[in-house]
Structure formats: structure tokens, C-alpha cells
């Protein structure tokens, strides 16, 4: 299996203030309150930044981890399961929020999250394909018309 290693590196290796604010703001209400729950940041061997959401005392084990690898945000749980990945941080934090408070999230919020994910996926993957096929059609249309 090939490990995804994106070569395009961002100018700042560590988290920017804005990135941290986005993550903490999304998780503070749902998770970061009382009994030693907190967060820390670290780095991988390659210098990719990581954000660790810590569980309660006494273990303070990692509950969720957000990493930025080549401009893509990776959301994993404390056991290494890949939960979500995207280049849009607010969308990733939405998934993180859902993961830490899954029992409390109402159905409507889950539907909104699903909708956002589908919309972003369409925007990222389907739209480029449509544009590409449109371009092919533009090139082929005059030739087809000539044959007709």
C-alpha cells in the first residue's frame, strides 16, 4: 500500500493562528471543558503539524488528531482510524466536532454535515470532470457538425 505523501508543502510548517483558532473554536464547546481535557500540537518526523485533542485525566489519551500533510487536513481518531480528509479545514473540524459529540448531535445537524461533505466532494471531483468533458465537446462539436 502506498502512503500518501504530498510534496506540495506550505510556507508555514507549524499551525497558523487562524488554523488553530478554527479547530479550537469548533471543538471548545463540544469537548474542551473540564477534567483535564485539552489539546496540544506537535510535528511529524517530516515536519507536518499535528493537533491532538486530549481526553480526560488521568490518561489524557489522544481522542482525535488533525494533521496537515501538504495542504490536506487528515482527521484520525486515537486508534489511527482515518475519519475524514479534505483541504477545507472548517469542513474537517465539522467532522471532528461530530466525532466527539456524536450522541448529542441532532439528526438535522448530521444531515447538514452530510450535505456539506457531498457539496465539497462534487465541487472538488465532479466539477473538474464536467468542465473537462465540456471542453472536449467544444472541440469536437465543429468537427461533428462538418460530418453531418
Amino acid at each position: 500500500m502506498n502512503v500518501v505523501v504530498l510534496k506540495c508543502k506550505q510556507a508555514t510548517e507549524t499551525w497558523s493562528e487562524q488554523e488553530l483558532q478554527t479547530i479550537v473554536a469548533a471543538l471548545s464547546a463540544a469537548w474542551l471543558s473540564g477534567n483535564g481535557r485539552g489539546w496540544e500540537t506537535g510535528m511529524t518526523e517530516r515536519g507536518d503539524p499535528q493537533f491532538y485533542l486530549l481526553g480526560p485525566l488521568p490518561q489524557q489519551a489522544c481522542r482525535l488528531c488533525v494533521s496537515r500533510v501538504g495542504g490536506r487536513y487528515i482527521l484520525e481518531d486515537g486508534a489511527g482510524r482515518l475519519l475524514f480528509e479534505h483541504q477545507n479545514l472548517p469542513l474537517v473540524t465539522l467532522h471532528a466536532k461530530a466525532a466527539v459529540s456524536s450522541r448529542r448531535w441532532p439528526l438535522a445537524a448530521r444531515v447538514v454535515l452530510l450535505w456539506c461533505t457531498i457539496r465539497h466532494t462534487i465541487h472538488d471531483k465532479v466539477e473538474p470532470l464536467l468542465v473537462e468533458s465540456e471542453e472536449v465537446l467544444v472541440h469536437l462539436a465543429p468537427k461533428l457538425a462538418a460530418f453531418a
Partner: protein
Amino acid sequence: MKRARNQEPDPEKARRTVVPEARRLRKQAGDWLKQRRADAGLSQIDLAARLGLKYYTFISQVENGFSRVPTEVMEAWAVELGLEPATFAKHLLLYYEPEMYRLLFGAEK
């Protein structure tokens, strides 16, 4: 490894300035794993690939002391580092569950 540390301000803050024992031991386990990986001549990316992980970030999560090696991948992790799985698991138990280790193996280290 540079780390930032942040926690919500609350009355327990003073108590939390001391790193909990469990976290300290997990970090020691992470350092040991990092050394064993280096001995095996593998990068975090190499090890992740051998374990079938899509991203290598979980290896870093474990080596930085924030997570444990999951039991279900312990054998594969040991094999890829060229270590005997039982010895590997026993050594990690010393860090992850020190009381269990003491009950099973006494004070030996």
C-alpha cells in the same frame, strides 16, 4: 520536538501543569518505538506503508506519546521493526499498563 500546550483555564489548571504519569509513560514508549524504528532503518512513512496505513500521521501520533500502539496491529508493528512480537508486546505493556505488568511479571524489567 517542539510542542505547544494548551488547556482550558479552570480550577484544576495547577494540578494539570504536572504531566500525568500515564502520559509520561506513553511518551517513554513513543521514544522507545522511535529508537527501534531508527534501528530498523525505517522512516515513519516506510513503517506506515508496511502497516498498510494510508497516511503516516498515526505513527507520529504514537511516537509523540499521544496514542498507544493498538493491540490488533502490535504483532505487525513488531515484525516490521524486526522484533519478536511477544517481547515487543511485553515491553509496551510496561509503559501502557504498568500495574498489569507488575501483576503479571512482578518487578522484573
